[in-house]
Symmetry: C2
């Protein structure tokens, strides 16, 4: 990747066209089917459609399911999809083979891992969470606490900057999303994992907003467990299956509380007693969602031709450029409040802007085919997917934003009501 | 449906061609894409491909995901798929609206419901199971017992005929599959539910081998909870999502232990505290698998044109006819032992035959394009799907079976090894 350094050069605006022309990853956009009139900055909510997916799913449905029917479980190795897709994800999140399994959803996987973590740390009932983290992680932890009772499990929630101080001898596990879904702030996996270990606790990471957009260093950080999803930067499609990471050193002792048949040592022996499979495979439960897994497997092929280090370089260049464009349009620092850290180290792959009229602004952008996210009460979220977003996308977005605010298009009465999903 | 009575008439064999010609449901086979040379008797493991599915999934992928992207959650109502598909399933299992949700897998759903059942019956730690039932239900129950500890949860396993006697004041829930996966025996939902209630326990039904092949009477039986899967008689495709039923009277009190964000009252308010959604919706956890749900929704369209009562009539006529053909070929009662009850009341939609060489026999059948299942150690399982199986399929299967045994084709050395999946 050459030329990206220019994006954070002295120039206030940079030159979007030149940056795109010099972008060594620009050709990857061709691997996606994107509407031509759209700037899509919501790949951190639902990744764009990889060109390889429709044919892969059609082949699965018509030929494998339709013609080979039940024999496909062996013939086309459906039964090994959770492992196979897990191994495709592993190098993207810094995991050596044998530690990642594609399975269930983040919510279900958080439950499995937290229950296993409590068992690995007997006598420590506390799950430590960060205030303002993605709610489902806390919801699931609270559901587990409710099930197990306060003596065996309770939650401790503190601001992120106080997590390290809140680690004590009662904490079984620290659960934290590496990149915050609202602010886009990236936390230091290595430092916080070390702090957890120093206190005798396990570190469980949620990679929803980091996996696929930047290097994730699970093994190198000494992380114990992790979850993530397939539908954001991995582009696996709506409701794509999630994944779990279980560090090799825990695989003998960690047990899933969801002891389903495909986590059994010999699922097809139909033995009456449960005996967990070796390794991370024991975190499977029910029959894998083959359609979703095949779509995700096809989506992950794009990553074979790029390094996550290069993706990170482009991602930072894109968000740098967007910030420069916002400044050039005089939208920063005064019109919007920047919710995302300026420091590259502490930034994920999104820029979040605070504004009291964030809802109307997001709707006006979407109407102009700049697809962004609103996060209540006051955030517009611009997710940059380095596989397919262009520097020109960043530029156009800043220009449209300036237009909208100048024309007061965000105060259109049509934007008075908020929908159920954003 | 006319003419089906002939299939269990005095004639030893019946007349397959005539029965097919008179079959009022025969036209439904055209709604499926089946290989022309194949007799497919494994729809109770993986249902055949409905003709409507490939186009529905392609539309979902190319137009909804590819073009409308994140907006599809509202625009194409993805967010309501769990409810929408649940309501399509409801009339097929005897459930009034508002009680069925399409979500997760049987294994995960059994966990959720059993944990909820234990909470609804405080002071009763026992989950009552039948010996020989499908293993995952017992595995999941044992995983829950392991998590909660013996004082709060333990298993009691008895032969099915002793279930009613084993119900006492310690039992929180009886968990039973309505049709046994090996024998094809169908149990009396109404009687066993009443027995559970008399003992103060809840009745939780697994509909894996009944839903979609026969009338299931959840409401009328007074059942409390149920699970089922989308990939057998509902033809939703490999790993299609499962479903839960939660009787209306329990919906205020029952809580899911998997408190994921989509089971929250207001998932998109991103509130820090969990507050469960009203009704069965609280049994959602993570983001729904949209590809699998859309495939299942398209598959369920076939059921709009047929009643489950008619499906049951044809299913019984098919298995009756198969038994008559087996007798005609002198394979019953001596060569095989019939594992499935003769009584129509106690029979599901399959015929299971015991033979010491069942493995080789199943493989020889499959080689002749009669697709059946082997279940260790000695069962060949013939599943009849009344939506697409023909009386001629039953006849051809019996004839092939007789040929195989006469030629000793099942003793081919190629059939010496058993695969991991059957």
């Amino acid at each position: 990747v050459t030329g990206l350094a220019a994006s954070h050069s002295g120039s206030a605006l940079g030159n979007s066209e030149r940056l795109d022309a010099e972008d060594g990853l620009a050709h990857l956009r061709e691997r996606f089917l994107l509407p031509s009139d759209t700037v899509y900055l919501d790949g951190n909510s639902l990744g764009a459609l990889p060109r390889a997916v429709p044919a892969a799913v059609d082949e699965l449905i018509r030929r494998q399911w339709g013609e080979d029917l039940i024999a496909s479980w062996n013939l086309h190795d459906w039964i090994r999809l959770p492992q196979q897709v897990g191994e495709a994800i592993a190098p993207l999140i810094g995991a050596a083979p044998g530690q990642v399994l594609c399975v269930d959803t983040i919510s279900v996987n958080v439950f499995k891992l937290l229950a296993a973590a409590l068992e690995l740390r007997p006598g420590r009932p506390v799950i430590l969470l960060a205030e303002g983290d993605f709610p489902t992680d806390g919801y699931v932890a609270s559901g587990l606490a409710r099930l197990l009772g306060e003596e065996r499990c309770r939650l401790r929630r503190v601001p992120t900057e106080r997590l390290a101080d809140a680690l004590d001898g009662d904490v079984a596990a620290l659960l934290l999303t590496e990149v915050n879904y609202r602010s886009g702030e990236r936390f230091d996996m290595r430092r916080l994992t070390a702090a957890a270990h120093e206190a005798g606790a396990l570190a469980v990471w949620d990679l929803a907003h980091s996996a696929g957009a930047m290097p994730v260093s699970l093994d190198a950080s000494g992380a114990d467990m992790a979850v993530g999803c397939g539908y954001k930067f991995f582009n696996g499609g709506p409701g794509a299956p999630g994944f779990v990471y279980l560090a090799g050193r825990h695989q003998e002792a960690a047990q899933s509380p969801l002891a389903g048949w495909l986590g059994h040592r010999q699922p097809f022996a139909f033995e009456p007693e449960y005996a967990s499979a070796p390794g991370v495979a024991r975190f499977q439960a029910g029959t894998p969602p083959v359609l979703g897994m095949v779509a995700l497997r096809a989506a992950l092929e794009v990553f074979e031709d790029v390094s996550v280090a290069d993706l990170r370089r482009k991602s930072l260049a894109l968000t740098d450029h967007f910030l420069a464009c916002l400044e050039h349009e005089a939208l920063l620092p005064d019109v919007f409040e920047l919710a995302t850290p300026r420091s590259r180290e502490r930034r994920g792959s999104q820029v979040s802007l605070r504004h009291p009229e964030a809802w109307g602004i997001s709707q006006a952008l979407i109407e102009r085919r700049v697809i962004v996210d609103f996060r209540a009460p006051d955030i517009v979220r611009f997710g940059f997917a380095p596989l397919y977003n262009r520097f020109a996308d960043a530029r156009r977005t800043a220009v449209e934003l300036a237009d909208i605010l100048r024309d007061k298009a965000h105060r259109d009465p049509r934007f008075a009501d908020k929908p159920t999903v954003t």
